[in-house]
Each structure stands twice: as structure tokens, then as C-alpha cells.
């Protein structure tokens, strides 16, 4: 049972354009969502998060949007840079939970110069 899904295995965008990565979830008990970025042979690095009481959180070039009614979140990167090329994981945590994260399968982003 895949509670967090990233349906696009890969995405390719041109440098300077917007990258939009999507994530869907099924468990209405999730109250906190995170995006992690992973380079080859390295561990995931925390990027940005959003609480379920918000619908948007912004940090520099990165913005996460949450649509609770659709159980959908997205990560926008503007403008995209070649250094953003990596695998991006969406993760979710259930309310009252001790911190356990459920991860999606990941989306590989390639930003072309």
C-alpha cells in the first residue's frame, strides 16, 4: 500500500525555467510534509517542509504548495539551475506520530544548461 506516491519517475527542464515536482498521498492523518533532495552516492538532504495548517511555504527558489482536499503537494523550483539535478523525494508524517516518515518513490530531475 503506497501511501505517498510520486507518479513521475523523471522530469527534464531547461535552465532558468520552472521545475514542478508532484506528490500525492492517501492518508488523511498526515499533517507534515517534507521534500528531500538526493545526489548520487549521498544521503538525502532536507530541502523544505510544510505543515498541514498552511497551503504554501517558500524558501528562496523553492516553494511547496499543499492542497489538502486533493491530498496533493507540489514543489516548485524557480529558476531551475543545473545544480538542482538530483532525485527529489516527497515524505509525509502522521499526526501524533513520533517522527516516522513515509517516502514516495522519488522523481529524478534533470536541468539542462
Amino acid at each position: 500500500d503506497q501511501q505517498v506516491k510520486q507518479n513521475s519517475p523523471s522530469l527534464s527542464v531547461q535552465e532558468g525555467r520552472i521545475s514542478i515536482l508532484n506528490c500525492d498521498y492517501t492518508n488523511s492523518m498526515f499533517d507534515y510534509f517534507l521534500w528531500y533532495k538526493k545526489y548520487p552516492a549521498e544521503g538525502p538532504t532536507f530541502l523544505i517542509s510544510i505543515s498541514s495548517i498552511k497551503d504554501k511555504n517558500e524558501d528562496g527558489r523553492f516553494t511547496v504548495f499543499l492542497n489538502k482536499s486533493a491530498k496533493h503537494l507540489s514543489l516548485h523550483i524557480v529558476p531551475s539551475q543545473p545544480g538542482d539535478s538530483a532525485v527529489y523525494f516527497c515524505a509525509a508524517r502522521a499526526s501524533g506520530n513520533t517522527g516516522k516518515l513515509i517516502f514516495g518513490q522519488g522523481t529524478t530531475l534533470q536541468v539542462k544548461p
Binding site: F46, T98, G99, F103
Partner: protein, 113 residues
Amino acid sequence: EAGVAQSPRYKIIEKRQSVAFWCNPISGHATLYWYQQILGQGPKLLIQFQNNGVVDDSQLPKDRFSAERLKGVDSTLKIQPAKLEDSAVYLCASSHVGNQPQHFGDGTRLSIL
């Protein structure tokens, strides 16, 4: 601050052999996690420690996997005996408390022959 340290980086063993991984979390982080990441999938939580107590080990295959966190700092994860399906990257993560973003090490890539 120093990140999460893991060793070894790579390990190749034959099926039915045993293997152990080591993790040193970020100083002061009370919560420690072990994840298994199979190729093409997101990380899956195996076990979570709060100091030296187990918080969640519901997805740990206890017939072959074991983990300990003595003195609430370093942790080891052991597999005995290994199966072919255990081939994966084993990631260690830590956080101050359970509801804070987790910081990951670079992982141990395990190959079972």
C-alpha cells in the same frame, strides 16, 4: 556541525553471511533512524530509537535484522543471515526530537551475491 557518519560505505557479501553497519548521529540528536532504500524506491523505516529505547520497529524483519543503540549515541544494524533481497542502501538519520527534520548519512550500499 559534523553530519551523520556511517561505515562502511560499501559492503559485498554472499547470501547467508552476516553483516553489520555502524552509525554515529549528529551530536545531541536524541532520535536515530535506520532506513532501507531499495533501488528505485524511497527509503523505508526499519527502526527508530529515542535515546537508547526503541520507538518503532514494526517494519524490521526481526528474524534476521537486529539493531542496538548503546548509551544513546552510536548505533549498529546487523543482518544475519543475509538474503538476496537485502541488497539495498542502508541509511541512518538523526534528529533532535521525533518531529524535527531528519538529517541523513551517506549510507552503506550492500550487495548480496
